[in-house]
């Protein structure tokens, strides 16, 4: 069996599940969950087969990209719109990651959403999301990718606003949809431009695709009116799409708000998969991004403009978001900013080191960030919907499994040396940033970002799991206040809000996925160490050379040492501030707040980016709309009114003329005719005669039209 022909089955299975769930009735919970999980499991099996096929091809040195293209429909004289899918190492690893993490989160959701009224709807959306995401991964056509990309955006909107009766959730959903739409517009423009220049949107098509030699050469040699190569222009536009989807500065504002959605959604969509789609997109069109360096051997040293942009945006994002995360107090928001920051790291990796470096961090991050989010979900679940870390504390005793797995995730994210996957992938990025020929600044920014990452994660863990339990039982927590404010609708969603005595450990269906993810958060790093760079070799299609001695090389060792020091410094600082003496009460200010209240306030309010956008973009828009409204009301409407009055006056004059002058004579005749007509209609009480008369009339009219046409000539 040739796998490539059946690759479409992978997204189709969850799609079918979504379709069947959509027509299921609300109480059919077991059906919905079984269907979703079964389809995901099958998709995972198929993805694993796809991975083995890709591995075999790697071994045999056969062409790297297997494609299956087909014609969709024809337009114009001889243009065909072709779609297709591709199987290459990039696709294969993403497929396995998405379906595996997705499956675990599906299982976890059956526990987390167990009490929700709209359980079936949730699984319908979740399956639809999985289908769209897998579609993004296998697409061999920018248009197909874009279609799935938009579907992913749509499901993200639906899932963030899943509890749509919460105004915050509804607003967050809208914000996410509209903000990413800005990037998508640029992506669409880039796509149209690419099509107009290269005449195809297929990525790989046996030498004729838009990412292959011929098309790229054409794109590189042409320049636009502002002196940039066409390839650069297109690449930058496509990258804008990635900025929107992956929450890079300046379009990062939607991602933290998106945490209003259910926690499994945050884990799946806003940590592991969808936000990584932007990174994946850059990796997919890497030949275009890197052109001309990827094309001509002579230019191998030149770093393309597009890749510089990717690196700088990534570096700024990585540092910027990490600083904000330091001062947040909502457990999911901290993780959200951390995600933004890590996505920035991936962008740096793509910019300075190539596909393999960025993708390696993407894969490891997907696992440990999903783990952290699901751990956070477990904590929230156990603390009866409390999300403020200042009100937690001491949960280590109550939730041992959650604590242990969370600690592993935290160490992986912080990049704790040697044992954890995050260390290897982050170190790889820093190493390549260190040797980047353009500037050292991304490296420094990355190092500071890494320091902050270790720090804020330590802070969070100490707040949540250590010290005394500050959970005030019986007191209305923030989420319950929301409940009260909105007529108890949330209470219906979470009947488990009824406060039992203590925080409790989550059921096995939630903790088991945590343990599986924790296992991979540790082990996954070993497939891409400098000593045995299996992952990098696979993605780049090179021969695997294992070189244990490489670990000891000067450049690598020094960067590794530096990042180790940075991680220990971050953790140590966190311990010194938060761990030595536990925070006694939830109202007390944060230790940093005591030191630098102004800085803390600035960070806590996220550099006022939201406010600036509100003032600048939304405000301008509103003023513009008001101006248009004013124009509409007074200028255009006025003109229309004047015309309408004129018409009324004219018609009035007409009527007077008609009634007083014409009709006087006419009335008599008309009376006679209408009397006759009434008599006739009394005689003929069916309407069929009129019907038949119409045919005769039509005959006469049509013949007259034609004869008139003859004479007009």
């Amino acid at each position: 069996m040739s796998m490539i022909q059946y690759l479409w089955l992978i997204p189709t299975l969850p799609l079918l599940a979504a379709a069947l769930t959509a027509i299921a009735k609300q109480p059919q919970r077991r059906f919905a969950a079984t269907l979703a999980i079964a389809s995901m499991s099958l998709a995972l099996v198929l993805s694993c087969i796809a991975l083995t096929v890709a591995l075999q091809h790697w071994g045999h040195g056969e062409p790297e990209h297997q494609v299956y293209n087909f014609r969709w429909f024809q337009f114009g004289d001889n243009h065909w719109l072709e779609l297709g899918w591709v199987l290459d190492p990039l696709t294969a690893v993403m497929l396995v990651m998405v379906s595996f993490v997705g499956l675990l989160i599906f299982i976890y959701s059956t526990g987390y959403m167990a009490q929700d009224e709209n359980f079936t709807r949730f699984f319908c959306f979740l399956s639809l999301f999985a289908a769209a995401m897998l579609g993004v991964v296998i697409a061999n056509n920018l248009l197909l990718l874009f279609i799935c990309w938009e579907l992913v955006g749509l499901t993200s909107y639906l899932l963030i606003g899943f509890w749509y009766h919460k105004p915050a959730a509804a607003a967050a959903a809208k914000k996410a949809f509209i903000t990413t739409r800005i990037g998508d517009l640029a992506l669409l423009l880039g796509m149209v431009w690419l099509y107009s220049q290269s005449g195809t949107l297929l990525f790989y098509n046996g030498g004729k695709g838009c990412l292959e030699q011929t098309a790229l050469l054409k794109l590189v040699t042409q320049t636009t009116s502002i002196g940039v190569a066409v390839s650069t222009g297109i690449a930058l536009l496509i990258f804008c799409g990635a900025i929107g989807k992956s929450g890079q500065v300046p379009l990062h504002v939607w991602l933290p708000d998106a945490m209003e959605g259910p926690t499994p959604v945050s884990a799946l969509i806003h940590a592991a998969t969808m936000v990584a789609a932007g990174v994946f997109l850059v990796a997919r069109v890497y030949p275009l991004m890197g052109a001309p360096a990827t094309l001509v051997a002579d230019h191998a040293e030149v770093v393309s403009t597009a890749l510089r942009a990717v690196t700088w945006v990534g570096a700024i994002t990585a540092l910027f978001a990490a600083t904000i995360a330091v001062a947040q107090s909502d457990i999911k928001r901290i993780l959200a900013y951390s995600t933004v920051s890590q996505l920035g790291f991936m962008m740096i990796g793509l910019g300075v080191g190539g596909v393999a470096v960025g993708m390696f961090h993407l894969i490891t991050h997907a696992f440990f960030k999903a783990l952290l989010f699901m751990g956070a979900g477990s904590v929230i679940h156990g603390c009866h919907e409390e999300q403020d870390i200042r009100c937690m504390g001491g949960l280590r005793k109550f939730m041992p499994i959650t604590f242990a797995t969370y600690a592993i995730g935290m160490l992986a994210l912080s990049g704790f040396p040697l044992l954890f996957s995050g260390f290897w992938s982050k170190d790889e990025i820093l190493h390549h940033a260190h040797t980047w020929s353009v500037s050292h600044w991304p490296f420094y920014m990355g190092v500071v970002g890494a320091l902050l990452t270790a720090f804020y994660m330590t802070r969070q863990v100490f707040y949540v799991f250590f010290g005394n339990c500050r959970l005030t039982l019986g007191k209305t927590t923030t989420s319950e206040q929301r409940t009260v404010a909105h007529g108890g609708a949330t209470a219906k969603e979470h009947p488990h809000v009824e406060l039992s005595s203590e925080p409790h450990e989550s059921p096995l269906v939630m903790t088991a996925p945590l343990m599986v993810l924790a296992f991979f958060s540790v082990t996954l790093g070993f497939i891409g160490t400098p000593a045995w760079p299996w992952f990098q070799a696979f993605l780049e299609g090179k021969q695997l050379v294992s070189a244990p001695g490489k670990l000891m090389e000067g450049g690598i060792l020094s960067v590794m040492g530096l990042s180790t020091i940075v991680v220990f410094a971050g953790i140590g600082l966190g311990y010194w501030l938060y761990g030595r003496k536990p925070v006694p009460a939830s109202q007390q200010p944060d230790p940093i707040e005591r030191l630098w209240p102004d800085v803390f306030y600035l960070l806590k309010r996220k550099y006022f980016v939201d406010e600036i956008y509100d003032w600048a973009v939304v405000g301008l828009n509103r003023r513009w709309a008001q101006a248009c409204d004013w124009l509409d009301r007074w200028v255009w409407n006025g003109a229309v009114q004047i015309i309408s009055y004129l018409t009324v006056v004219l018609s009035w004059a007409n009527r007077v003329f008609d009634e007083k002058v014409v009709n006087l004579g006419f009335d008599e005749g008309c009376e006679g005719v209408s009397l006759g007509a009434r008599l006739m209609s009394k005689l003929q009480n069916g309407r069929i005669q009129n019907y038949l008369r119409t045919i005769g009339l039509a005959l006469a009219i049509l013949v007259l039209i034609l004869i008139w046409g003859c004479h007009a000539q």
Partner: protein, 506 residues
């Protein structure tokens, strides 16, 4: 040519005739005593088996040499075969929908009439001879009149049938008049021969005789396809006829009529096209059709908005769709782009339209059985009572409105493209295409009215409705799936049709 080879060419029709007689005989001779449900089941099964046998004969056996009997009296080529297969598929679906009907005791006659109508349609599409066209047109029409009147207990059915019959009789008289004028001009009943005479006539201005012939022929076919102003029978017939009959009138009859309409115009009146462009208006059959098409699109779409009965709404929607398809008929292959035949888009459009409208009628039939009416308000809250049925109706309505990726979108897309490219660079039919696009936007409004009732309005009746039968749901679902699949992969129909057109040399 031996009788055996004639039988070989006309085998599908022969099979159908035998099936019709078998259904009739079986019901009249053996099944009088049985229960109605059983009789319906057996009748439908025999009918479907016959249709399937005819389909299998055409698909499985290799095509006999494209042949023609008696100078175009009876033709066999790949394109005609495809249209026949589509007609038979629509017939099968109609028979299946009829299985649950409870308006008549005369099961055998009913199914036999459906099959006779189908036979008429099959002969209609496989001839290029005006005499044969007229005879098969009458066979189809007469069967359909009776089918319309079949609900004898319902006065509306009788009224609709009478109107349909009188109107149809009048139209037939006009057609016959037009065809006899054509015979008078050319001295032949063969379309190609007629074309030779016609193009000789129209060198300097149009002959008045030819003008009359064109208009009279257009009236005849305009009646069959329900184009304005020959549409007046349609709303009454759609509303009054038993639902399976109405569905068959709306689907199968449309496919056959449009196909033969296009062939008569393109082959028989070749050389008398004229021009429908606003800048260079030249008399001929194209401008005649342009007037009819524009009127159909405007009147059909606007009148549909005011309807409160879903079947009347579908009737006006059918009138509007007739206007769109006429665009394809008008798109004569121009000397500038000879390889693009408008027949491909036309066949794709009418087949997918037939499937869609059949499905919509099947849904209406289900609703009517449960609530006793076909008013818009009877559909209120259907989504809660029957989610699958509602979803299928969503697909049908959106496809009729032309929303991608459903079949209706690609049908419109191809037809409009064909109309645009017909005049080469001059874009003569641009005004009609713009009108058509604008009117499709209008049409979305009334299709959404139906969907609004289904999905948004709360249900009005409180009593528990009869449960839906699995069979009827399966038919509706199969139709919806077909609409979706043919929309996602238009090539499934279009590519064989295009290659068949190349073979036929049209």
């Amino acid at each position: 040519m031996s009788y055996l080879s004639i039988l070989n060419l006309a085998a599908p029709e022969t099979i159908m005739v035998m099936t019709a007689l078998a259904v009739l005989a079986a019901d009249l001779l053996f099944m009088r005593e049985l229960e109605r449900g059983t009789r319906q089941l057996i009748g439908a099964m025999i009918g479907c088996a016959g249709c399937l046998a005819a389909v299998a004969w055409m698909l499985v056996l290799p095509l006999p040499e494209p042949g023609s009997l008696m100078q175009g009296l009876f033709l066999v080529d790949p394109l005609i075969r495809i249209v026949k297969v589509a007609l038979l598929a629509l017939t099968i679906f109609t028979v299946l929908i009829s299985m649950e009907a409870d308006f008549t005791q005369h099961i055998g006659e009913y199914f036999a009439l459906i099959l006779f109508a189908a036979i008429g349609m099959m002969f209609l599409v496989s001839t290029e001879d005006i005499l044969m066209i007229f005879i098969s047109l009458e066979l189809t029409s007469l069967s359909l009149y009776i089918l319309t009147a079949f609900n004898k207990r319902n006065i509306k059915s009788a009224e609709a049938a009478l109107k349909y019959f009188l109107f149809g009789g009048m139209a037939a008289a006009f057609t016959l008049f037009g065809l006899s004028l054509l015979y008078g001009i050319s001295g032949s009943t063969n379309l190609a021969e007629i074309a030779k005479a016609v193009s000789g006539k129209s060198v300097n201005g149009l002959d008045p005789l030819l003008i009359a012939a064109i208009v009279l022929t257009v009236i005849g076919f305009g009646f069959k396809v329900a184009a304005v102003p020959f549409h007046l029978w349609a709303p009454d017939a759609y509303e009054g006829a038993p639902i399976p009959s109405a569905a068959f009138i709306a689907s199968g009859s449309k496919v056959a009529s449009f196909f033969v309409f296009a062939k008569v115009m393109m082959i028989g009146f070749k050389g008398a096209e004229g021009s429908g462009s606003l800048q260079a208006w030249m008399p001929g059959w194209v401008p005649t059709l342009a007037v009819v098409a524009a009127a159909s699109m405007v009147l059909g779409n606007l009148a549909a908005i005011a309807q409160s009965s879903v079947r009347r709404l579908l009737a006006y929607s059918a009138i509007a769709h007739a206007g769109y398809v006429l665009l394809a008929v008008m798109a004569v292959p121009s000397p500038l782009a000879p390889h693009t035949s408008p027949l491909g888009p036309l066949v794709y459009y009418v087949i997918t339209y037939g499937l869609t409208t059949l499905g919509a009628f099947a849904v209406v039939s289900n609703v009517q059985q449960r609530t006793g009416g076909d008013r818009l308000s009877d559909f209120a809250g259907l989504a809660r009572r029957a989610p699958l049925l509602s979803f299928c109706m969503l697909i049908f309505m959106l496809s009729l409105a032309g929303i991608p990726p459903l079949a209706g979108f690609f049908g419109k897309f191809y037809v409009f493209t064909a109309a645009l490219s017909s005049g080469g660079k001059s874009l003569g039919l641009l005004w009609l295409v713009i009108l058509a696009v604008a009117m499709s936007a209008v049409s979305l409004y009334y299709y959404l009215l139906v969907l609004k009732q289904i999905y948004i309005m709360p249900s009005t009746d409180q009593d528990t409705p009869r449960p839906l039968s699995i069979g009827s749901q399966a038919i509706v679902f199969a139709l919806a799936a077909l609409v979706l699949i043919l929309g996602c992969a238009p090539g499934l129909i279009l590519e064989p049709v295009m290659s068949a057109i190349k073979v036929a040399g049209l």
